[in-house]
């Protein structure tokens, strides 16, 4: 076996984290992006700036604040504690929360652009064809924004895959629970286990590359079909 059991577990945790985070991001990001693409609210730009923050913020800064707020004395941790839940810091759930914040702009921005590109007209047409607002959203806006959903999912997934700083700060590098591949690679390098680091790094590289190949291939078919 080339990859040790711990390495495989780290890979598995990474994929699980990326999948769950992407799913959560799509569920939260879709209504948020829709609202941003439609709202005329004059202070909308403040929300947009907050969402874009992780783009420029060092991950350790984000991770530090998350660690504090997820801890038993922090606002989120305190709330969970009050409701009788287990502490979130150094758990997989905590990682998901961190990833959701960290990858938010990569999901919300493509979705917002895609919804903006759909425009008002198709929705007005649907309204004249007796479709209610919710009906219009699911049968017109979402299918027409499909390329945006593909881009958002891939970017959200891929960005979570490569996460390091945030995970390190709030995950605590617990094998089998919060140790992800990127940190496992770092550990191998620190311990001068270059061979193992190579295999794990190559697996991530190959996987990421394949993922992007599939997506760009699909998107290409999509655009070629509609000259």
């Amino acid at each position: 076996m080339i990859l040790s059991e711990q390495d495989l577990t780290a890979l598995f945790v990474t994929l699980k984290l990326a999948s769950v985070s992407t799913l959560v991001l799509l569920i939260i990001g879709t209504p948020l992006a829709w609202w941003l693409s439609r709202s005329q609210w004059r202070f909308k730009y403040i929300i947009e700036a907050i969402i874009a923050l992780p783009l420029i913020l060092p991950p350790t800064v984000l991770g530090f604040y998350l660690l504090i707020s997820l801890g038993p004395n922090g606002p989120i941790g305190g709330l969970v504690d009050m409701l009788g839940g287990a502490p979130l810091a150094f758990t997989f759930t905590g990682l998901v929360i961190g990833s959701v914040f960290y990858s938010m702009p990569f999901v919300v921005q493509p979705l917002q652009n895609a919804f903006t590109a759909v425009g008002q007209r198709p929705l007005e047409v649907a309204a004249t064809l007796r479709a209610s607002p919710l009906d219009r959203f699911f049968t017109i806006a979402v299918p027409m924004a499909k390329p945006g959903f593909i881009t958002a999912s891939v970017l959200g997934f891929a960005h979570t895959l490569g996460e390091f700083g945030v995970v390190l700060m709030i995950g605590g590098n617990i094998p089998g629970s919060t140790q992800v591949a990127s940190i496992a690679i770092y550990d191998h390098v620190e311990a001068l286990e270059y061979g193992q680091a190579h295999w794990l790094a190559a697996s991530l590289l190959l996987f990421s590359f394949l993922l992007l190949i599939i997506v760009y291939g699909t998107n290409r078919r999509y655009t070629v079909a509609q000259p």
Partner: protein
């Protein structure tokens, strides 16, 4: 059923103030220059534009007013936008079924098939929107609106985005739609030619206000309105074919007030046609002329005379229920001593069939 409309909409500098009643049958053209508020009015009727002080009653149903605002998807309308706006992710069939599936109570397989047949799009059903020409797309958009079996059809310059050839392709389809359907049609247009071919009634809009409303043929010939004074002043006459002369290629058509001969491709006796008679092609004589090349001489009464310039005047002539415009020189009017109420003869040099 009539449609009572009262809207006050303020959009920046522009204000729309409408208070009118639209007839229950036939095609009502909303006509006016761009920026006059035609589209805003149509959108307000569809509920796409929210007029705060609005009142809209369609037959017995209150769509807006007294605290009521029926959202667009609950109004039984068919709406055709300026651009075809087909759903790009659905086939032509998918586009048409979209409305049908949501208007189950009104629509039916028969209505759906009728819409497809009327617009001649059977052979396009399996295609995607981007595989169609602009004209075909607009035909699909019209069929999609009709397939919901609406109780009112609203069209916002459906031909404006098309080239001349494609316009000519679609007009016959629109004509047959209007003839087959028994619902009110509101047709926004700034094309005089389209209005002449399609409309029965007219709302003349300018700068957000209704300047005139009534029968299309009346508004075209009313001397207190601008259309009769333009250089291309014309009268539109609804007539039916009474005889077709194969030898000379001439159709005799009868209208309320007389008979006219027009050069035309073979026509079926009894079919309804519209004639366009330009004011400059109508001259006036006191006695019916013999030995003239002009075929059409109609006894008329002078209804009104308005001077256009130093040299020209427009005369409104009445033959029974039909109004004709004549553009003559002031000198001729002086020579003939024309006065309102005089019984004279209109000589129509040429009349064109619009359909």
């Amino acid at each position: 059923m009539t449609i009572a409309v009262r809207f006050n909409i303020q959009r920046g500098e522009f204000a729309l103030n409408i208070d009118t009643v639209i007839p229950e049958t036939g095609v009502t053209a909303i006509f006016g220059p761009s920026g006059s508020g035609k589209t805003t009015l149509l959108r307000a009727i569809a509920g796409l534009e929210h007029a705060d002080n609005g009142y809209l009653k369609v037959g017995d149903a209150l769509w807006q007013g007294n605290g009521v605002f029926l959202p667009t998807h609950q109004r039984k309308i068919g709406y055709v936008f300026q651009e075809p706006s087909l759903f790009s992710h659905l086939t032509v069939q998918g586009n048409i079924n979209y409305g049908v599936a949501r208007a189950k109570d009104e629509s039916s397989a028969v209505v759906l098939q009728q819409a497809i047949d009327l617009l001649g799009i059977e052979h396009l059903l399996k295609r995607m929107p981007w595989q169609l020409s602009g004209g075909e797309q607009q035909r699909v958009a019209i069929a999609r609106a009709l397939a919901t079996n609406p109780s009112m059809l609203l069209l916002d310059e459906p031909l404006a985005a098309l080239g001349d050839d494609q316009k000519a392709d679609i007009l016959p389809y629109l004509e047959s739609v209007y003839q087959q359907l028994d619902i009110p049609v509101l047709y926004v247009s700034h094309s005089r030619n389209e209005v002449a071919r399609l409309a029965d009634h007219m709302l003349l809009l300018d700068n957000g206000e209704i300047k005139a409303s009534g029968k299309m043929s009346e508004i075209f010939t009313a001397l207190d309105l601008p259309m009769a004074h333009q250089s291309r002043a014309e009268s539109i006459i609804k007539a039916s074919v009474s005889h077709y002369d194969e030898e000379f290629g001439l159709a005799s058509v009868a209208f309320l007030g007389g008979q006219l001969s027009v050069a035309a491709e073979p026509l079926i006796v009894g079919s309804k046609v519209r004639l366009q008679v330009l004011a400059r092609d109508v001259s006036i004589t006191l006695e019916p002329q013999k030995n003239t090349s002009i075929l059409n001489i109609i006894p008329v009464t002078i209804d009104a005379i308005v001077k256009e310039s130093k040299s020209q005047m427009t005369v409104r002539l009445i033959a029974d229920e039909t109004a004709l415009l004549s553009r003559i020189t002031c000198k001729s009017a002086y020579n003939l001593n024309l006065k309102e109420g005089d019984k004279v003869y209109a000589q129509v040099k040429t009349a064109a069939l619009l359909t």
